[in-house]
């Protein structure tokens, strides 16, 4: 993970279709690295220009695990748009990730 800050912060005023994403990790584990990479790819493909990824390392900020009810690592939380969605795992299955983010209807 090269950056904690998501690259695209052009949009400061949240649009209704703006995606605020938090990726919870615990150190640089293979799963976490894979998850971040997979997420980045998906966002660039489907949410270009309207997303923000915040990576939260629980080894650094363990107290943050409570708020989003984090158990599994890695966990991706879609904070916006509401309702909150959670996707756990390394996001290796792009289809399921898209379903989880409501970018694709459940089949």
């Amino acid at each position: 993970m090269e950056s904690k800050q998501p690259p695209d912060q052009a949009e400061t005023a949240p649009r209704p279709d703006f995606y605020d994403l938090r990726l919870y990790v615990a150190g640089q584990t293979p799963n976490s690295i894979a998850a971040f990479a997979n997420l980045k790819t998906i966002c660039e493909q489907h949410l270009a220009g309207r997303y923000r990824i915040q990576v939260i390392d629980l080894l650094v900020d363990p107290q943050l695990a409570h708020g989003d009810q984090i158990l599994a690592i890695p966990t991706l939380v879609r904070a916006l748009p509401e309702p909150i969605k959670k996707i756990i795992g390394d996001l290796s299955n792009a289809e399921r990730t898209l379903v989880g983010l409501d970018l694709r209807p459940r089949s």
Binding site: P62, Q69, A72
Partner: protein
């Protein structure tokens, strides 16, 4: 020796021989509603409040507020402990509908949360209630299982004593086989309904490296949390006292070797209806309070107020003792709980009040809710625990007129040190009450059946009245006594008369004796006079002879009686 972590739960530490395995996870399993969460919470709360061991509660099923409310109803102030930073309640919510799974993951997030909570207050105890909720929220069972295995191993390295709860499964201890991972100590809770009465039971299924009670023990949940009924001592070992305590009735004490019951002994008072069993029990309670000791009266047939009123009618006022908190009444209907629940209840009362005497009035209704064997087991446990604490116990037992309960009595009586029988003696159209000591271990005791009356000043044991045909009671006794009074009077008269006659006779004889004495004196006087006369005449005769001889100038004659002037030196003829 395995180090133990005391739970502080009454009775559980006895069953587990000291508590849960220190620094290891223990599994508490059971069906819904049998008290898993409460047991876990009490373990944690007592740890924090009593043993200075902060604790962390991870609730997977309830919210922190729900938990606080539930525990508040049992007398635990959760918010206070949380404010004092010796307890953390963290809710873990797993909602399957919110979660999409894709690819590999682990439960490091949960580890971090638990670890963070433990470290933030230096927790020594952890509860995970019920971690099986994870199985409902996450679909990848393979990952879950390996992560749970890792979790329990990790908890050990953290050095915390953990309680993991698990729902009971079909044919397995827990629905998801948690017992595979948590195998140091497994405790099973159960709540069975028999004869429409539910009883909670606890059993230590497994405890590695430690001895433990293996039976099912009833337990109780009430406003003080969990109480596990006392377990039967493995050995018959307890201190015995030589001290004696009064029964409250001095004449009964006299029947019991002169000093009353032994302290710490168990007394059975059995009798038919209306023979005064409760009165005898109340006398003992009263005597106990008079000595300044405390007593618990378990009333299973009458309300406290009724017992107090009834005892007033025999001149005993128990109310002051109740007001002074020397006497504590615990009244309950036998059918309210199962027999073991009663035991647990009584045990809890005894443990909290620590009385010097206990009255169970009566034990017979327990037969309605349990079998003979169950009643005996319960009483054995109760008596065992009372004897350990040197508490004197008096149990009353109602027996039918045909003594239908005799078998039970026999099975129970062997537990008793002293057995007093109250019986009615029916004769000549009345019913009177009799008391006798059937047995009393370790003391010489009276073998007589004594009549007693319930008077305005309490139970009064009457003098023994033995007629030719055994003891006599009631008005027969009164008649016999009256007859005896008359007899005595008649005999006295007869004696007086005899004495009079004798006195008269004596006087008459004495008079005769006096008369005779007078006669004797008269005789003696006559004799003396006669002798005097004779002497006079003799001396006169000699003088006459001497005069005659002098005149004849002859020598003096040899007088047969020498006269005073007789001269032996005179010339010979």
């Amino acid at each position: 020796m395995l180090a133990k972590c005391p739970t502080g739960i009454q009775g559980l530490d006895e069953v587990t021989d000291g508590g849960l395995p220190l620094g290891r996870p223990a599994l508490v399993c059971g069906a819904a509603g049998c008290g898993k969460t409460l047991l876990a919470a009490e373990f944690l709360i007592r740890g924090a409040a009593q043993f200075g061991e902060p604790g962390v509660f991870f609730a997977f099923e309830e919210t922190a507020n729900e938990l606080a409310t539930n525990l508040a109803s049992l007398g635990f102030d959760l918010p206070d402990l949380i404010d004092r930073r010796i307890l953390i309640v963290d809710q873990v919510r797993v909602e399957r509908s919110e979660i999409q799974e894709t690819g590999e993951y682990d439960l490091e997030g949960l580890f971090i949360r638990i670890g963070y909570a433990i470290d933030s207050i230096g927790a020594k105890r952890v509860v995970l209630d019920t971690i099986e909720a994870l199985f409902a929220g996450l679909s990848n069972e393979a990952i879950l299982r390996s992560e749970l295995r890792r979790l329990f191993a990790w908890l050990k390295t953290k050095g915390v004593t953990a309680v993991i709860t698990g729902e009971r499964g079909e044919g397995t201890l827990t629905r998801h086989g948690l017992e595979e991972y948590v195998s140091d100590c497994v405790i099973l809770l159960d709540n069975r309904v028999e004869n429409q009465v539910s009883t909670r039971r606890i059993r230590v299924v497994k405890y590695r490296g430690s001895t433990h009670g293996t039976n099912e023990y009833p337990f109780l949940i009430d406003q003080d949390g969990i109480t596990v009924a006392p377990i039967t001592g493995l050995t018959l070992e307890y201190k015995v006292s030589d001290e004696r305590v009064s029964s409250g009735i001095s004449r009964l004490d006299a029947m019991l070797g002169g000093k009353g019951y032994y302290r710490g002994s168990t007394i059975l008072v059995s009798g038919t209806a209306g023979t005064g069993k409760s009165t005898l029990a109340a006398h003992f309670a009263d005597a106990c309070c008079r000595r300044g000791e405390t007593c618990i009266y378990f009333a299973f047939e009458e309300a406290r107020q009724q017992v107090v009123r009834n005892m007033r009618s025999v001149g005993m006022d128990l109310q002051p003792w109740i007001d002074q908190e020397k006497l504590r009444f615990v009244a309950a209907r036998p059918s309210t709980y199962g027999i073991e629940m009663h035991l647990a209840l009584m045990h809890r009362e005894i443990m909290s009040a620590r009385p010097s005497a206990v009255i169970v009035d009566p034990i017979s209704p327990f037969l309605e809710i349990g079998t003979r064997n169950e009643v005996r087991t319960m009483l054995t446990r109760l008596i065992d625990s009372l004897k350990q604490q040197q508490i004197t116990a008096l149990c009353t037992n109602l027996v039918g007129p045909e003594r239908m309960n005799e078998a039970t009595e026999c099975s129970v009586s062997s537990l008793m040190d002293t057995w007093i029988l109250l019986r009615e003696v029916e004769s000549e159209g009345e019913r009177n009450r009799g008391i006798y000591v059937l047995k009393s271990r370790g003391m010489p005791h009276s073998n007589q059946i004594r009549e007693f009356r319930l008077t305005e000043s309490g139970m009064e044991i009457l003098d023994v009245y033995l007629g030719a045909d055994g003891g006599v009671t009631g008005s027969a006794r009164a008649a016999r006594e009256a007859g005896e009074v008359m007899d005595r009077a008649a005999r006295k008269q007869a004696v007086d008369r005899k004495r009079l006659i004798a006195e008269r006779r004596t006087r008459a004889l004495e008079a005769q004796i006096a008369l005779l004495r007078v006669q004797i004196e008269a005789e003696e006087m006559a004799v003396a006079e006669a002798i005097e006369d004779e002497e006079l005449s003799q001396s006169r005769t000699r003088r006459t002879r001497e005069q005659m001889a002098g005149s004849r100038m002859g020598d003096s004659p040899r007088a047969p009686v020498r006269g005073p002037e007789a001269d032996t030196t005179g010339g010979t003829a």
